[in-house]
Amino acid sequence: MTVREAIEELCADYAEAIDDGQLERWPGLFTADGEYQIITRESHDAGLPIGILYCDSRAMMEDRVRALRTANIYEPHAYRHLLGRPRFAPDGDGLAVRSNFCVFRIAQDGDTVTFATGRYMDRIVSDGGALRFRSRRVIIDSRRVDILLVLPL
C-alpha cells in the first residue's frame, strides 16, 4: 500500500467510524498524545486559541465519547462524510496532510442538512505499525453551528 493509499485509508476509516456510530473507535485513530480541535475559519485565521471543541489527548476524546453516551442529552442523529483528496508533504517524523470535507447531518425524522464544510489540517505519524493522527485540526468554514455539536466532525 502506497503512502497515499495508507493516508486515504485512515481518513476513510475515520469517517466510517463516525458515520456508523462506532464512536468508541474514534480515539484509537489518534496517538495517545493526539490533539483534536474544531475551530471556525474566522477564529483560525485570527489566530485565536479557543475554538468550539478541544482535546489534548486520546483520554480526553474518550471522556467526550463517554459523556455523549451517558451524560449528554440531544436528539438522535447521524453524520455522512464526503472527503476530498488528501494532499500531503513530509513533516518532521510524519506527514502534514490536508483535505476538504463536507458533513451532512441526518435527523431521526430524515431531515438532512449540510452540517459542516471545511478542511482537515492533520499531522499523521506511524505509530506502532499503523498510521495515526498526532493532530487533527478541523477548520469549519462557517462561523456558526446548527443546533449543537456533539458527534466529532
Binding site: I50, L53, T70, L148
Partner: protein
C-alpha cells in the same frame, strides 16, 4: 423572513390568570407578537448589547451588530468616541457597511456613494449638484436632515450598550447595584478576546431568555454538571434578581457541596464516573468571594458568565420567530499567564455549541417550540420557588428569574 409591521393582532393577546406564573405558548409562535416586540421591546426603553469595546480598539474601527431585526453598525470615531447607528442608508435604505468588521475614515454607501462620517452624519451626496449643472438635488436639499438613524450608546465595563429610546435610564440605573457590581467583578479588568462562534437554535428568542434564567434546569438537564460535581443545587448558591426582576445572577460555591438526598431521585445523579483526563477541570481561584460558578443575565438578551475559569459573554438575537442566533464570546484577562489561558481553553469545552454542560440548551428550547405546536392556547406553569419575583438566596430550585423576565416583558409589551 419578513415580519410585517401591519398586523396589530398582538392586541388580542390576553394574558392568562396567574400573572407571571403562566405564559401562553402562543407568545413563542405568533408572528404578530414577534412584530410587536420589534417595536415595543427592542426599540423601547431598554439597553441592547451591541458589542465589546475591545472589538473597536482603533479610531475608524467599526463592527456590525443587530438590535432585534434592525441591522446596526458600531463605530469608533477619530476622537475615540464610540457611536452606533442603524446600518440603513438615509437615501434608499441599503446596508452601508457590508463587512462584519472594518476600519474607515468615513462610511460610504456603495449604492450611490452617499458618505457619512463615523458618527453617521451625512457628509456628501454624489452628484448633489448634478453634472455640469444638470440633474442633482433640489436647491432646498438639506444634508442635515439626512443621517444614519442613531442609537444612544453607553459603555459599561467594556460592554457597549445601545438604545433607541430617549426614555431609557442610564445603564447603571438600568442594571441596579447588584448587577452592576457583578459585571464589574467579571469584566471590570482589562480583558481580551480568546475565541468566538455562534449557534443557530430553532426556537423563539424568549425561550432562550427563559432558559438562561432557569436555575432549576441547570443540574437536571446538564447531567455532566451533576455527575462530575461541577455544579449542583446542593452547593451553597442562589438566584439574585435586580429590583425590577429583569436581570439575574445564578451563582454557586463549589467548595461547599453537601450531598443532599433529593439527588438520589434524579436520573442525572445516578452514576458517577471519573474523568480519564481530569485536566479539563483544573481550576484556580480568581476571586476571593468563593463563587466558582456565576451566570448573569441582563435583560433582554445578554449573558455574562464565569464558570470555573471560563469567562464568556453570550448574546442571542432573533432570526425569525422560531430561529435565534446565540453568540459565544470567550474572554481572558490581559494579564493572564500562558498557563491560565490554557486552562480557559480547556474549560471552554464546558460551554458553547459543543459544551459538555451547555450543548443541551441547543436543543431543549427547540423541544419546547415543537412540543407546544398546536397548543398555542395552553400555558406554561412557573411556580417553582413560589409565585413571587424576588431574589432566592440559598436556593436555585426556583423559577423566580423566569418570572422576573416575564414581568419585564409584560411591562414593555403592555400585555
Amino acid at each position: 423572513m419578513d415580519v410585517p409591521v401591519t398586523r396589530e393582532l398582538a392586541s388580542d393577546l390576553v394574558w392568562p390568570p396567574g400573572g407571571v406564573t403562566r405564559v401562553p405558548f402562543r407568545v413563542f409562535s405568533d408572528p404578530a407578537i414577534y412584530a410587536e416586540e420589534q417595536r415595543r421591546l427592542f426599540r423601547g426603553p431598554i439597553w441592547n448589547f451591541l458589542c465589546l469595546e475591545i472589538e473597536l480598539p482603533n479610531p475608524g474601527d467599526w463592527r456590525l451588530a443587530t438590535v432585534g431585526d434592525v441591522p446596526v453598525v458600531v463605530t469608533r470615531d477619530e476622537h475615540g468616541t464610540i457611536h452606533a447607528m442603524v446600518n440603513r442608508c438615509a437615501h434608499k435604505g441599503a446596508l452601508v457597511c457590508l463587512q462584519e468588521r472594518g476600519n474607515a475614515k468615513a462610511l460610504t454607501c456603495v449604492y450611490h456613494s452617499w458618505s457619512y462620517d463615523l458618527a453617521g452624519r451625512l457628509q456628501s451626496v454624489a452628484f448633489r449638484h448634478g453634472i455640469r449643472g444638470k440633474g442633482g438635488m433640489p436647491e432646498d436639499f438639506d444634508a442635515a436632515q439626512h443621517r444614519l438613524e442613531p442609537l444612544r450608546i453607553e459603555v459599561f465595563s467594556g460592554v457597549v450598550f445601545g438604545t433607541f429610546s430617549d426614555a431609557t435610564v442610564p445603564v447603571e440605573d438600568y442594571l441596579g447595584a447588584t448587577m452592576a457590581r457583578m459585571i464589574r467583578r467579571n469584566l471590570g479588568r482589562p480583558h481580551r478576546l480568546l475565541g468566538m462562534h455562534s449557534q443557530i437554535i430553532h426556537n423563539n428568542w424568549k425561550l432562550y431568555a427563559e432558559n438562561v434564567r432557569d436555575s432549576y434546569h441547570a443540574t437536571l438537564l446538564h447531567t455532566f454538571y451533576t455527575t462530575f460535581k461541577v455544579n449542583r443545587l446542593d452547593m451553597d448558591g442562589g438566584m439574585l434578581l435586580s429590583d425590577d426582576g429583569r436581570h439575574s445572577i445564578s451563582y454557586a460555591r463549589r467548595g461547599t457541596l453537601q450531598q443532599s438526598d433529593e439527588y438520589q431521585k434524579v436520573h442525572s445523579a445516578q452514576y458517577d464516573s471519573a474523568l480519564a483526563a481530569p485536566q479539563l477541570l483544573d481550576t484556580w481561584t480568581e476571586f476571593d468571594d468563593g463563587i466558582t460558578h456565576c451566570i448573569q443575565t441582563i435583560f433582554p438578551t445578554l449573558v455574562v458568565q464565569l464558570t470555573l475559569n471560563s469567562l464568556a459573554v453570550r448574546f442571542f438575537t432573533p432570526r425569525g420567530i422560531d430561529r435565534t442566533e446565540l453568540f459565544w464570546i470567550y474572554l481572558g484577562y490581559q494579564d493572564d499567564t500562558e498557563q491560565q489561558t490554557r486552562q480557559r481553553l480547556m474549560q471552554s469545552n464546558l460551554t458553547g455549541a459543543a459544551g459538555l454542560v451547555s450543548l443541551e440548551d441547543g436543543c431543549i428550547n427547540e423541544f419546547v417550540q415543537r412540543g407546544t405546536r398546536g397548543s398555542e392556547n395552553r400555558n406554561a406553569f412557573l411556580e417553582m420557588g413560589g409565585r413571587e419575583v424576588a431574589s432566592s438566596d440559598g436556593s436555585r430550585a426556583t423559577e423566580t428569574g423566569i418570572r422576573g423576565f416575564w414581568q419585564g416583558y409584560r411591562e414593555l409589551m403592555g400585555v
